[in-house]
């Protein structure tokens, strides 16, 4: 319990450490960082499923869309508070995740990816075609959570969400369920031989990651003010995958670093248009080939090199810290 309090303390410290950003940057930059933080939540959620549990789902962005549309429509039609709408989105994502997980998680590797992709495309088409309800490509107006489209309050909201997501992911990975998830990722047959109900825990991971996405999507919808089926395209999923792999798949800080890095880079290269995706693809190949640990792995290596050069610190300590940075 004490350790948990310490981790909450770290999160509060992190919150305070970057709270100054909106004061010193322009509205536009604050917006970019806010969106980065939105992607942190998505990437952390997907890393739980794909990184730690080894289930390569390609429907993560769809759950964000489900959260956003559910909340927007519910609030529009019933005048319920937006937070209720977001919770409703998370509940629907739980149900959908449970059903989709039940259908798909007996499949392995590429079949799971294909099945979840097919699901993602179906939902996107459904949202596009059912324009009487969703307004399709015309776009659905949503109410703004803080009544203003200015980025600053949303920055603080998403900073809180991102830290909460990271904390939740840490707690899950280091809990009983987390050990089961990582065992499944290592060797599913062996996990079953240990008595782990592999199907059940894969489904739990699937539902949890869907809820992460739906909550992030719900809040993001009430920030942007306009929903369209465009972010439910495969591009969006590819972005999440790129973020996690560039940051470091199956590392704790990987998706956090990766999401901010890729989103900021993507804004810097905005003038390049769709060529950006090609650049990111090359980046992913380079990382996968040269630094499978991603940005986090590189940082660990850098720390190790610096430590081993300084004569004061014994070598044993520096290698241990390098190991810790890529763990678990």
């Amino acid at each position: 319990m004490e350790a948990f309090a310490r981790r909450v303390g770290w999160c509060l410290l992190a919150y305070a450490a970057v709270a100054w950003v909106p004061w010193v940057t322009t509205e536009y930059h604050t917006h970019v960082f806010t969106i980065s933080l939105y992607y942190v939540v998505l990437a952390v959620g997907w890393n739980l499923l794909a990184g730690y549990t080894g289930q390569f789902s390609l429907a993560h962005h769809t759950f964000a869309g489900v959260g956003a549309y559910t909340s927007a429509l519910l609030v529009q039609h019933t005048r319920l508070p937006m937070l209720v709408g977001i919770v409703a989105g998370a509940v629907l994502a739980t149900g959908l995740g449970y059903v989709l997980g039940s259908l798909c998680l007996r499949m392995r590797a590429i079949y799971l990816a294909l099945a979840t992709w097919a699901f993602a495309e179906s939902i996107r088409l459904l949202v596009t075609v059912e324009y009487q309800i969703t307004r399709g490509d015309l776009g659905l107006r949503t109410s703004l959570l803080f009544g203003t489209p200015r980025a600053t309050p949303y920055y603080y909201l998403f900073l809180g969400l991102a830290l909460a997501a990271a904390l939740a992911a840490w707690e899950i990975v280091h809990s009983r369920v987390g050990v089961f998830m990582r065992a499944i990722r290592d060797d599913e047959e062996a996990a079953a031989a240990m008595g782990v109900d592999t199907f059940k825990w894969k489904r739990v991971a699937f539902v949890v990651s869907a809820v992460f996405a739906a909550v992030a999507g719900g809040f993001q919808g009430h920030y942007i003010g306009l929903l369209s089926p465009a972010p439910m395209k495969f591009n969006e999923m590819a972005t999440i995958v790129i973020m996690v792999i560039v940051g470091g798949l199956r590392t704790f800080f990987g998706p956090i670093l990766g999401a901010v890095f890729v989103e900021v880079l993507s804004e810097l290269l905005r003038g390049w248009g769709e060529i950006r995706m090609v650049l990111f693809a090359l980046l992913v190949i380079a990382v996968a080939r040269l630094y499978p640990g991603g940005l986090v792995g590189m940082l660990g290596l850098a720390v190790q090199t610096v430590r081993s050069r300084s004569p004061k610190s014994p070598v044993g300590r520096s290698t241990r810290s390098a190991m810790r940075s890529t763990k678990p």
Binding site: A183, D187, A191, A192, A193, M194, D197, T198, M323, K327
Partner: protein, 240 residues
């Protein structure tokens, strides 16, 4: 009543091909029951069938009189039956301690309970305590085998199914593994052991079955086998 009874079971992986043709055997509580036989006799398949990876086409499997042949592995584990497959059944990306925790978490849902189980495991396997924070990949073959065994023994299983405990191990290490199996029996664990090492199997088992072509060819108490060891080894090697 036998702790485990395999009642005329037939099973296989592919439609129409029975690896186990008609197996009947009993495991008495508190004993080590050895299963020997040539390659391809169906020994490993038998353990997989008992543990629920494979469901029998015919026949029943009874645990304490209750039919278990339709259960999934995790449900069988809850009955106190554990399975140590051939080779290294460890999770290389987890630390040694997390590997042991995994075994403990199956049985216990509280951190204190898990911690006390780990403490006992380290008392039995002190070598693992030294390496608790290391990734399991860094273990040697013998240490990995000890870990596979330890993480099944942490929960004091009623029945332990062990497939080829000494395969691929140096004789000195294999010796340590057998010591652990005998020690487990002394603590009241019942074992069903498959072994290619016939001499060793006959030495530590109380009762043995020799299977071949998916059927029991010969059975009896240890003495019955020990007398004709040379003959049995020759038969087994030649698959006669």
């Amino acid at each position: 009543m036998a702790l485990l009874e395999v009642d005329h079971v037939a099973a296989g992986y592919v439609e129409g091909i029975d690896i186990l043709a008609d197996i009947a055997l009993r495991v008495e509580p508190g004993s080590i029951t050895g299963i020997i036989g040539p390659n391809g006799a169906g020994k490993s398949t038998l353990l997989k069938t008992i543990f629920g990876f494979l469901h029998p086409r015919r026949g029943r499997i009874l645990h304490g009189g209750r039919e278990i042949q339709a259960l999934a592995p995790y449900a069988i584990k809850r009955l106190g039956i554990s399975y140590v497959p051939q080779g290294q059944n460890i999770f290389p990306q987890l630390t040694v301690e997390e590997n042991l925790q995994l075994g403990a978490w199956i049985a216990r849902h509280d951190r204190a309970g898990v911690a006390s189980i780990l403490e006992r495991a380290y008392a039995t396997f002190p070598r693992l305590r030294e390496r608790r924070r290391r990734r399991a990949t860094s273990l040697s073959g013998g240490e990995a085998k000890m870990l596979s065994l330890a993480k099944e023994l942490v929960n004091d299983p009623v029945l332990l199914l062990v497939d080829e405990p000494s395969a691929g191990l140096a004789p000195r290490i294999a010796h340590l593994v057998y010591d652990e199996l005998v020690a487990a029996r002394a603590r009241g664990v019942t074992l069903l052991l498959i072994d290619q090492n016939i001499t060793k199997a006959v030495e530590i088992s109380d009762y043995l079955y020799m299977i071949e072509g998916g059927q029991v060819r010969r059975e009896g108490p240890r003495e019955h086998f020990a007398d004709q060891l040379r003959q049995i080894i020759r038969d087994s090697l030649l698959g006669a």
